[in-house]
Amino acid sequence: MAEMLLRDAMAKALREALDEDDRSFLMGEDIGAYGGAYAVTKGFLEKYGEERVRDTPISESVFVGAGIGSAMIGMRPIVEVMTINFTLVAMDQIINHAAKLSYMSNGQLQVPLIIRTVTGGGAQLAATHSQSFENWYASVPGLRVVVPATPYDALGMFRSCRKDNNPIIFAEHALLYRVKGEVPEEYYEVPLGKARIAKPGTDVTLVAYSGMVRVAEEAAAKLEEDNISSEVIDLRCLSPLDLDTVIESVKKTNRVAIVEETWKTGGFSGTIASDIQEAAFDYLDGPIIRINGPDVPAPYARNIEQLMIPSSNWIVESVKYNFGL
């Protein structure tokens, strides 16, 4: 099996869309002549031309809306918003329009739109460029939220997204683009709404998604050294959410910590924690632990920026302390 960077897996996913479906086109800021802010679409303009690889003005609201509008008449647009921070400028189109049109039109309209965007912090880009809003979008009915943690999943889930007829936030973590992983040559898909057991274990369940999956895996390796066996679950999607896999794991391990990069207040970990205690209260041997970034804007300086992003040591200490392991 070939190893591939997540960036290259995404490029492959996008090439497939353009090669296989003439209803698909790419649209976004600096995806063409510049080659993409994260170089995912490097060489695309030359290959596919400017009709299908459309550089846009810096007008997030209108180009996201244009994606929605074209989807309303049967196109299958793939819109790139350079970072998830900038999706806030297009929030009206995403939430008031994309997410509502199927419902408000009583199913007359569908919006098969994929919004690719880059999420996460840790690159010293300070408060306006280091945020993670996947959890916000996951709270909106009508949207799907896909958060791959590996090159395999990025390609496999993107293929599933292309067959879905709903507006999708496809959030790629900035620090994962250069992560390598195995990607088979033969065709496969990863269904939306099916979590992955990244590492099986018996003593504690660590739930994570996107950039935090690797951190949780690191923590699991460290806990293993102390003979604590962790099961790491990669949610893969926040919407649809595969709660069953989480609950099943918790019923086995009786302990759970949820790791999430964004702020604790309003974090998706709160929703998951609540769902777990409703479904498996009697199985819990301790409190449900939420390991989130603290409620502070991301600073620039490296040393204090690192203090706000959950780390493997943070997880290890929290698990040991809270569960008395």
């Binding site: 509008g69 329009h97 098969p112």
Partner: protein, 343 residues
């Protein structure tokens, strides 16, 4: 219609001209305007009776714009609108029964009772919705136009918006990209002089005349009397032809006045009764009827017959709405997500 209409920085108001119009065509225009008027009056009655709830924004006084602009479009063109959308929906041919049922929150409504007055949809008729976030429909119109261009079709999108929307960023973003990409959009501004209760002179640095806003984006623009149905019709026919040729968007500012409040909740305290009364003398339906009769195109009997037919249509719409079932509890959960492709 002279080619000069869309020359930049030129303000042209065309007068009604019925010379070349067949009698039946004139009667159709009158009939469509009267249908909207009577539909809206009935909706207001139903609102007062509590059968229509939520926000109800009526189009009374502005009928000439929808009726002048929409019927000249082809079936394969698209119409997208704002929250004051009943007139556009009816002019596009949505069944008054389905529209009234929607206002009454019934499952037989054109949006299944889930959209209400501000969110009428009929995709078969290419009526792509009333949209209730001011300016929010403009990016959608851009997308429909882009889709048409990518499909190499010569259909156009007519996008209605009000004077309130031109203060939104989305308006300027949409104008820029439509012009830049030469998209087939007719920007159809309905300037009724008030964004809810705020006089446009108090909200816009450029004043109440807005069509000049298209100039920096190199979009041909014109301002017309939006209470003159023939002026709207002729301007739209010319404008749509230009857009269909692939020359990019046009911008039509129709000056209008809404006779009633912003919504049923609005007592119109921000404007003088005198101003309202003065504008009522410009009633687009009366004006068109009078011109038709003066020119001998139609007579009083024709008008009376149409009025009778419209009353029956509206009464049937009301009865249909009243008798239709409400959505079921199951309907609450349908269509949140679309079915996968191929299902």
């Amino acid at each position: 219609m002279k080619q000069s209409t869309f020359k930049e920085e030129q303000k042209v108001t065309t007068a009604s001209n019925l010379e070349n119009m067949e009698k039946q065509a004139a009667l159709d225009i009158f009939s469509q305007m009267l249908l909207i008027r009577r539909f809206e009056e009935e909706a207001e009655r139903l609102y007062r009776k509590g059968l229509v709830r939520g926000f109800l924004h009526t189009y009374i006084g502005e009928e000439a714009i929808a009726v002048g602009a929409i019927p000249p479009l082809r079936e394969d063109d698209y119409v997208i609108s704002h929250y004051r959308d009943h007139g556009h929906a009816l002019a596009r041919g949505i069944d008054p029964k389905a529209a009234m049922a929607e206002l009454c929150g019934k499952s037989t409504g054109c949006s299944g009772g889930k959209g209400g007055s501000m969110h009428l949809f009929d995709i078969e008729k290419h009526f792509m919705g009333g949209h209730a976030i001011v300016g929010g429909q403009l990016p959608l119109a851009i997308g429909i136009a882009l889709g048409l261009k990518l499909k190499h079709l010569d259909s156009v999108v007519m996008c209605f918006f009000g004077d309130g929307a031109v203060s939104e960023g989305e308006f300027h973003e949409a104008m820029n990209i439509a012009s830049l990409w030469k998209l087939p959009v007719v920007f159809m501004l309905e300037n009724n002089l008030y964004g809810m209760g705020t006089d446009v002179n108090r909200s816009r640095a450029g004043g109440s005349s807005i069509y000049g806003a298209a100039e920096p984006y190199k979009i041909p623009a014109v301002q017309i009397d939006g209470m003159d149905v023939m002026a709207v019709r002729e301007t739209v026919i010319e404008g749509v032809a230009k857009v269909r040729e692939g020359q990019g968007p046009v911008f039509i500012e129709s000056m209008a006045y809404r006779f009633h409040g912003h919504s049923m909740a609005d007592p119109s305290n921000y404007r003088d009764n005198e101003e309202v009364q003065e504008n009522r003398t410009r009633d687009p339906i009366d004006k068109f009827r009078d011109v038709c009769i003066e020119t001998g195109k139609v007579d009083g009997n024709d008008i009376a017959l149409i009025a009778e037919q419209i009353d029956i249509l509206v009464q049937e719409a009301r009865e249909f709405a009243e008798q239709s079932p409400e959505p079921t509890a199951e309907d609450l959960y349908t269509h949140i997500y679309a079915e996968p492709e191929g299902n």
